[in-house]
Subunit: 341 residues, 2 copies
DNA sequence: CGATCGAGTGTAAACGTATACGCTGCTAGC
DNA sequence: GCTAGCAGCGTATACGTTTACACTCGATCG
């Protein structure tokens, strides 16, 4: 049962290797009789095609790569679930690369992209400037790329993408807090390098401005999209001279950290401080209190992104490049109340 | 900038393709002078080696596959993090396949394994009988396999593995509940097909027996390792004629579901019912109450597993096959109290 | 100074597959 | 009955790389 090649099968079946190949890939081009002979030989030898050789010959691997900030974030695992489902249906495997919350160096990302062996790339994370440069080069070499979740940066604007309207969603979240009577609203956003959370910050600021509410210095703090990062950021917020009555977090992971930090400080949510998250990960509803948050159709995003990538891979270019906006929804639970004062 | 091969570079540098190849892979076997010429040519042409051809020629892809039950489970993402770190250090990419909590059919798993293009496999999930059969075949064809987290099934006993002592850990968790005065202790375990949770169930039963406590019919219920599954299982538990005062869950995900279900029913944890989880995922401590649970060194398991796989890949076989047991720890938080009665 | 050695390079074969092309032999149309 | 056509199959080439082997040429040693 050592590695057996197509030659072995051909010899055993008494045909040429071309015929064996045809039996596998174009069964209709071969006589019933020979097909059976070959199938027998395949069974006997335990032959299975050498995928490496196939990939090499055909010039495609049936592997796609997805680049994301953090595999640990339940939101992204939900997106991945959608991607994976579509990939399976289309016969692709998926290779995951993590930018580790943008701490990855530009060199590493570049090396990763250059040395890849994939038919296409799904980008769920914003890239360093160097990364986008490499990507553009790649794209010119006709490596299909599709962007998900993120609003695209200008350099990548000609790639297809699918995501929610982050600005509108952030506005909606902020407006909800305002509608509940909050005026001192702060935000825990992501790293400055993350375009996605930039958009959310933009939406927050727009809503505040529209309501003619001021944002004090120190009210918008930078987290790193993790629980720990949010706890630290929240600590700063709690010590602020003019403490906010509500906090809008750029993702649920941080909302959870925020919530926990506030409770650790002996305050109550939402009585003392209200919290709104973003993503509606599955832990949001089992928190105490359950988190009010913006829900994204994560799996659907993943699916759509993968299908678009497939179209890109197959069509070569025919596929449109327009961004595809999927709907979001504010889901109201119990982490927001009217402010005490 | 269209695809440029090694020939192009050779022509431009005025050397043979062999020399170019050597410049890349064995720079010390080539004169300084020619090396510079070649490097120049590479720069000018924008050449980068065709990874497919390399893989094909060398017979290795530098890709490893990891099979796990659920990418969404934070415990596994933590293990993955360790794997990924080691993989990066060793120059491997990692391909993830999900058994989707064992709902995946045997055929799918088999097809996946047969058609793979990987240098090795890390198994974090127990496999269907058919799967293990395919695996054994694979292994005979010298595809390196290492098992993590799971206790190995008999058929796979000759593969290296690294995991905690699940039986001892489950015993410890159960004994802790007993030491707090609980006598009516039930368990929410995983699917029957999961060896891992079988071990935990075994540990639980052993501890109960040792303490001479009986386990009533209906006290050990089957979840599916998800929040939703645990909620359903817990509902059954709550309706039991002789309701337990404590519940031991086979993983934290289910402990969270359990906790949420109990709270939804209007009871309090730990006042009315105590809960112990397993894994110590990062959400365990931000629950209300924070979860008492068994902590596993997830990242470390991932790292070790990956390094062992590397040794297998490189050494061929020299590497030992003995299981590697890593330490666990009971971390006591606030989800357990003495029973009311 | 001639033989020996070895470093540096080139030539060519090999990896396993897919397929363009050509050959055979049969069928159908005239 | 002869030819055109075509289905079925084999031959041979190509994909891009690595590497065993052969070769050259300068240096070193006897």
């Amino acid at each position: 049962m050592t590695d057996v090649s197509i030659k072995e099968v051909a010899r055993l079946a008494g045909v040429s290797i071309a015929t064996v190949s045809r039996c596998i890939n174009n069964p209709e081009k071969v006589t019933e009789k020979t097909r059976l002979k070959v199938q027998d030989a395949i069974r006997q030898t335990g032959y299975s095609p050498n995928t490496l050789a196939q990939s090499f010959r055909r010039g495609r691997t049936n592997i796609v790569m997805v680049v994301l900030p953090s595999v640990g974030d339940p939101f992204f695992t939900a997106v991945m679930s959608g991607i994976r489902g579509a990939a399976r249906a289309k016969g692709y495997s998926v290779l995951i690369e993590e930018t580790q919350l943008n701490k990855m160096t530009a060199d590493e990302i570049g090396a990763m992209l250059v040395s890849n062996q994939t038919d296409g790339i799904i980008l769920l994370a914003s890239m360093s400037p160097f990364g986008t440069e490499v990507l553009s080069a790649k794209s010119k070499r006709r490596l299909p790329i599709v962007i998900g979740c993120e609003t695209v940066s200008p350099e990548l604007a000609d790639f297809p993408s699918v995501h929610i309207d982050n600005i509108a969603a952030a506005k909606e979240a902020t407006n909800y807090l305002i509608s509940q009577g909050h005026q001192r609203i702060s935000m825990v956003c992501g790293q400055a390098s993350s375009l996605l959370t930039k958009d959310r910050e933009y939406g927050y600021r727009a809503a505040m401005k529209q309501a003619e509410l001021s944002i004090e210095d120190g009210w918008v703090v930078e987290g790193d999209l993790t629980i720990a990062g949010a706890r630290k950021a929240t600590r700063n917020l709690m010590n602020h001279g003019n403490r906010p009555t509500a906090i809008f977090c750029a993702n649920d992971e941080m909302a959870i950290g925020c919530l926990h930090e506030i409770k650790s400080a002996g305050l109550q949510v939402p009585r003392d401080i209200s919290i709104v998250g973003f993503d509606d990960i599955r832990y949001a509803e089992v928190m105490d209190p359950p988190l009010t948050t913006i829900s994204q159709p994560a799996e659907e995003i993943g699916e759509r992104v993968m299908y678009r990538l497939c179209r890109r891979i197959e069509a070569g270019k025919g596929a449109s490049s327009s961004p595809e906006i999927v709907p979001h929804k504010l889901v109201i639970r119990q982490s927001v109340a009217k402010p005490a004062s």
